[in-house]
Amino acid sequence: MTTLVWIVARSTGTAALVAIVLSVLSGMALRSGALAWLSHNRGLRAVHDLTGVLWLPLALAHVIALLLDPYSRIGLADLVVPFLVPYGSLAIGLGTISLQLIVVVLLSTWLRSALTQQGWLAIHRLSYVAFVLAFAHGLLAGTDLAQPILSALAWVTAAVLAIVGIRRLTAARGRQSAARSKTVAIP
């Protein structure tokens, strides 16, 4: 039974990270057009919305399995207060903060109509921080990311995300400068 719970904790943790990668990737591609060759924005939007919901049951299963597993020695307090675990407190604490940030992002999405556009965008951008923390949590605490093949896959994925992120930033800068030049051109 303990072994089963441990296996569930590991597999759901990795799958949740994959779902978050897809969510961040599709979200960045929406504005940058980096995946225009793959699909149109309507399709990417659908993937972004779906993966935003897909990671939640996986992350919950990951957390519940770790709570049930006596080997990992994680308690309910560790879900609320990071860095309390007697071993690997940084590695596990990063996961706690990441989970909390993503929950905030998800709640802000559900309550979008009650927020201003600027407020929602500010909260939504926390998902980048959450993703970096989740990635670091996976590398520092993940039993399977210590394997060379899986580690290589994770780093390749991170590199792809970094490239798309840079394209997203340059696209945003280009739009801003274009808007400024239009404003100047108006007499």
Partner: protein, 89 residues
Amino acid sequence: MARRKRVPLISSVQALRGIAVGITMLSLAGMTAYAGGHPYNTGAPLQPQQPVAAPAAAPATTTTTTGRLQLSRGITTTTTRPVTITRRS
């Protein structure tokens, strides 16, 4: 000359959703199978069951004796001044 509009590889929203779910579920199934075959990884960064680093104990030194009293011939002498003085009348 009219510019040709680029057609994306996948235009069906449902197909794209299916691919996203497929990638996630494939990773879940793959990791479950892998973790089932390798329940413990000695190279994992965290090993919860290991005790918290205890202070290293001093290495125990062992001496072998014969079990007999060892007597030495030498007489130890000190250079300190004697406390008592013998008076001469």
